[in-house]
């Protein structure tokens, strides 16, 4: 049995906002099947009582003083935008007609 199906890959691509063409989905499904079968090895050694490590450093609650600092000007922030209108980022339609 394969570890991941083509339909699952198509679903994941939608979740990840990747409009993949059919041929790419086919190729990815085959490759991911091999990769997932290999990485599933972690389940053989991971046991219930081992605490997880999410980070190499045990740092917690790192704060900086709450003070105003210089940031980017609106012009600098907009300089590399794909589209700009009236000093703002211009984006395609977000809501449908009926919403």
């Amino acid at each position: 049995m394969s570890a991941i199906t083509r339909d699952e890959v198509a679903h994941l691509a939608r979740l990840a906002r990747l409009a993949l063409p059919e041929d790419e989905l086919d190729q990815l499904a085959a490759q991911l099947d091999v990769i997932i079968s290999a990485v599933a090895k972690v389940q053989e050694v991971a046991k219930g009582d081992i605490p997880p490590t999410s980070h190499a450093l045990p740092l917690t609650n790192v704060y900086r003083p709450d003070e105003v600092r210089p940031g980017l000007t609106p012009d600098q922030a907009l300089a590399e935008a794909p589209a700009v209108e009236d000093g703002r980022f211009r984006v395609p339609q977000i809501l449908g007609e009926e919403e």
Binding site: L28, K41, P52, L57
Partner: protein
């Protein structure tokens, strides 16, 4: 000016300081070299000739005004294209950031400038630092100066090739799973992954935030230590930055002494699957360390055999989250915005066109590992393995000062050999990944050429967190002893040597 580019970074810095040469002369010599050889090597994505000369003139002016400058002032450096630079494009070798001009400098960039280092340009890499061969660059591969039909390693392959081809005396890189040590090993250089959190990630385009670590490339251990020292240290702008002094790496590189040191050979990082010539040079390095007065013992780190699997769940998971920022709205590529498509459709089209195959593969894999129903089995288990790896390191460092292994299982493989086989590509990082997962420090130093292909082999030296200096001390001792044996640097045997 072959004489100038032959000098080590330390020697060049001293020659500039004494007035024997100038930052401008040194910079021009390297720009000429890039002009001469980069057509074939393709180490650079962007050469900033005018800006480099401008920076060099500024350093010379500061010196002339009597300012006290650091040991690398005026020395050129090649900068990986994953660090933001406000006066040069930054692409992470991706089409989604083609031509992007960041509005700010990364902390590493800023510190290079403050130290008077002259940035020659931005180096090629695997797209978003995902890969082990630099073949995942959207702008074409980089070639290994030792054999131009071979890969220069990755993801920092442009940086390693630039230093090996004498296009720069120093280069920056980032190491998430081996992306500095592996390219250093296969190009016959010194490369270091510092302790996680001791070099800043601010302005570093994120791949896997709990693993990404900036570090140096150099032709020798002392030069690497000088660059390490120049850009490391606490950065309040990075919330995972360690507020601790930079370990005394330069002093350690000068000490170059292993007598009385306890060195552990990691049992799990050799044997089957390793190229015979790699194992041969590694065994000789072990004998060399013993002859220099170190006590070498075999150490078992059983969980290291699961490190690769854990890494290829953790890194893609973090990448799928980090790369969500490339949404076609605020900067970078935007595709299909013709007034008929929704933001979501434009986003999906842009990401499908802007990201290359390996990046898409990892985004999907990470999305899978983090999705409900699979999270515990994959991402959760991988995090538990991470704990086991840390415990193995901790247990080992109770008995030994450093651990050693080959840096890579094989020498540089041929271009194209693994591009259709992702798992085979991932195996290149087999020996380097445990250190990333545990967050400690490791260095790769050349230990000879494999007899079967005459390509460089790297010795990896792993040290506890914040004891980076130990790795430098061992690396420098190996380097000094081998230099005596070879009558010079290994790199002098490369056909691109000057």
């Amino acid at each position: 000016m072959t004489e100038l580019i032959r000098l080590s970074a330390a020697e060049l810095g001293a020659a500039i300081a004494s007035g024997e040469t100038s930052a401008v002369e040194a910079t021009q010599a390297y720009l000429d070299r890039i002009e001469a050889v980069d057509g074939e090597i393709h180490a650079f994505l962007h050469v900033a000739a005018e800006k480099a000369l401008e920076q060099a003139r500024a350093v010379d002016a500061r010196r002339a005004a009597g300012e006290e400058l650091g040991p690398l002032a005026g020395v050129p450096v090649a900068h990986k294209d994953v660090f933001t630079t406000k006066d040069m494009p930054t692409t992470a070798a991706s089409k989604i950031l083609e031509g992007w001009q960041p509005p700010y400098d990364a902390t590493v960039t800023e510190r290079l400038r403050d130290a008077g280092l002259v940035i020659l340009g931005k180096t090629n890499m695997d797209e978003f630092a995902m890969g082990s061969s630099t073949e995942n660059s959207a702008y074409g591969p980089t070639r290994n100066p030792w054999n131009t039909e071979r890969i220069p390693g990755g993801s920092s392959g442009g940086s390693s090739a630039a230093v090996a081809a004498f296009e720069a005396p120093l280069a920056t890189g980032t190491d998430t799973g081996g992306s500095i040590r592996q390219p250093a090993a296969v190009c016959g250089l010194v490369g270091v992954k510092p302790t996680y959190g001791s070099s800043s990630r601010y302005g570093l385009i994120a791949f896997a935030s709990s693993l990404d670590t900036p570090g140096p490339f150099a032709r020798n251990v002392l030069d690497a230590a000088l660059l390490h020292e120049a850009f490391s240290g606490h950065d309040p702008r990075d919330s995972t930055s360690v507020d601790a002094p930079v370990p005394p790496v330069v002093e350690a590189a000068r000490r170059a002494d292993v007598s009385g040191m306890r060195i552990g050979m990691v049992k799990e990082l050799s044997g089957e699957g390793y190229q015979p010539g790699v194992l041969q040079r590694f065994t000789e390095a072990v004998e060399l360390l013993e002859s220099l007065g170190a006590k070498v013992v075999e150490v078992s780190c059983p969980s290291f055999t699961t490190a690769l699997a854990a890494y290829y769940l953790i890194a893609p998971s973090e990448c799928s989250s980090n790369l969500a920022r490339f949404d076609a709205m605020r900067y970078g590529l935007r595709v299909g915005d013709d007034g008929t498509r929704s933001a979501e459709e434009v986003m999906s089209l842009t990401r499908a066109q802007g990201f290359g195959p390996e990046v898409k593969r990892r985004i999907i894999l990470g999305t899978y590992a983090l999705s409900s129903g699979y999270y515990d089995a994959y991402y959760g288990s991988a995090q538990q393995v991470r704990t086991l790896i840390k415990r193995d390191f901790d247990a080992a460092f109770e008995h030994v000062d450093v651990l050693i292994s080959p840096t890579t299982p094989t020498t540089a493989f041929p271009l194209g050999e693994r591009t259709d086989d992702p798992m085979a590509m991932y195996l290149a990082d087999l020996c380097t990944i445990p250190t990333n997962l545990a967050g400690n420090a490791a260095l790769s130093v050349p230990c000879g050429l494999a007899p079967e292909d005459d390509l460089p082999v790297g010795l990896q030296v792993m040290a506890p967190a914040l004891a980076d200096d130990r790795a430098y001390q061992v690396g420098a001792a190996v380097e000094a002893a081998l230099r005596d044996r070879w009558g010079g640097d290994l790199l002098s045997r490369c056909s691109y040597a000057v």
